[in-house]
Amino acid sequence: MKVGVLALQGDVREHISALIACGVYPTTVRRPAELAAVEALVIPGGESTTIAHLSQIFDLFQPIRDRIAHGMPVYGSCAGMILLADHILDAKAGQETFGGLDITVRRNAFGRQVDSFESDIAFADATPAPVRAVFIRAPWVEEIGTGIEILAEIDSHPVAVRSKSILATSFHPELTGDHRIHRYFIEEVARGALQHLQ
């Protein structure tokens, strides 16, 4: 499977290590041709306004949007979740997203950096042991639309959701060295979605 990591800004390196640990050899995506060469995409943690700004300048915004709309498997953590949401709250004025997930996400929902935290959470059925989840100025899902499955919650706020081909978490599995979420994306989300596309 050819997986790319959107490498305009953010913790790209950590996602690459996590994907390698799952047995895929990711490439970085900063240009339209690099996007065209991958079958699935990971959007890293970072600053969602910066990543959106750079993807517009470097002609990636519309192509990513189109690929997602045509079923390309995508995983986004934190900023990635914001960029995959159809609607966002507490956004910078005029902030646009790639979209694809019929959810409304609230930016910085848990508060500022002094409120950032880590906690054990239950993640779907795929992972019997709890996942250590790191939330950094993290968003949460405020509303979900049709076809959205909730995989994890904190205080009844969804913090991990999926649709057929899209996975999003408001926390950062790439920062912990626990690769179960990345493996879940590759094995449970992307592989099936790609077979479906063929």
């Binding site: 306004t49 950096q113 935290f117 906690s119 939330f135 920062l175």
Partner: protein, 295 residues
């Protein structure tokens, strides 16, 4: 389930998310908005940019809390603020204001000429400057969750930033080449704790994110520092002391992402107008060199 705030992972993780980005000095809400629109990953609130501190002299301190509040209200990206070296009360004030990162900075006038802030006592993470590996590891030992090479702030002269990045990287490479039984003496020479020295020797990198700062004034300067192995860039006076801040800020963001693509850097560098005037570091008398503050 229990939620733990202020852990090492949460503090250091925040810096990981800033990687590949540009953090810009701003002195008011209007500048903060320009920085956010240009694609900055964070803004650094301070009362005067380094070039003005240099020109005007006097004691440079933490910003007015009102100004920090206004900047926080104006932008959705993280807001950092500077406290004086060793001034733990300024840091407590900044933490209570809810800033996202504190820079214990040599750009402000030091409050303590022997000790830095004990940064483990805080929930908010700290970034500190360093000119060499020993200094970086002493700051990490005190709880810094991010390091920036110092350079010489407020000059627009990138030579010191270059020197400090080379120095830190040279020393890391040297540690990696040593036998395990030689690391004790290396720790003594670096004046840094053995455990951190051993960790750097094993991993071949600092245990925290390393940004660069001080004297960066053009897109090419930013790209130069990225190609020296910086994880990201701080730009102080370079943006708002230039003739066209919005355009220069956006250009530096582009060059930081595409630091390895001279065509993109060339495009970003076109038609930016005057860069900040600048001062050669070599012409600065030693007592006015900020990089030498920090112990």
């Amino acid at each position: 389930m229990a939620q733990e705030t202020g852990t090492g992972r949460v503090k250091r993780g925040m810096a990981e998310l800033l990687k590949g980005g540009v953090i810009m000095d701003v002195v008011n809400a209007e500048q903060a908005k320009i920085a956010e629109d240009a694609g900055a990953v964070a803004v650094m609130a301070l009362e005067r940019v380094p070039a003005d501190i240099r020109a005007q002299g006097g004691v440079a301190r933490m910003s007015d809390p009102d100004m920090i509040e206004k900047i926080k209200a104006a932008v959705s990206i993280p807001v950092m603020a500077k406290a004086r070296i060793g001034h733990f009360v300024e840091a407590q004030v900044l933490q209570s204001l809810g800033v996202d990162y504190i820079d214990e900075s040599e750009v402000l006038t030091p409050a303590d000429y022997k000790n830095h802030i004990d940064k483990w006592n805080f929930t908010v993470p700290f970034v500190c400057g360093a000119t060499n590996l020993g200094e970086a590891l002493r700051r990490i030992n005190e709880g810094a969750a991010m390091i920036r090479s110092k350079g010489e702030a407020g000059t627009g002269d990138v030579s010191n930033a270059m020197q400090h990045m080379r120095e830190i990287n040279d020393e890391i490479r040297r540690l990696s080449s040593l036998r395990e039984d030689e690391l004790y003496v290396a720790a003594k020479e670096l004046q840094a704790p053995y455990e951190l020295v051993k960790e750097v020797a094993e991993k071949g990198k600092l245990p925290v994110v390393l940004f660069t700062a001080g004297g960066i004034a053009t897109p090419a300067d930013a790209a130069l520092m990225m190609s020296m192995g910086a994880d990201g860039v701080f730009i102080g006076s370079g943006i708002f002391k230039s003739s066209n801040p919005a355009q220069r800020a956006a250009a530096c963001v582009r060059a930081t992402t595409f630091w390895d693509d001279p065509k993109v850097i060339a495009d970003a560098s076109r038609g930016l107008g005057e860069a900040m005037v600048g001062i050669n570091v070599a012409d600065l008398p030693v007592p006015h060199r900020l990089a030498e503050r920090g112990w």
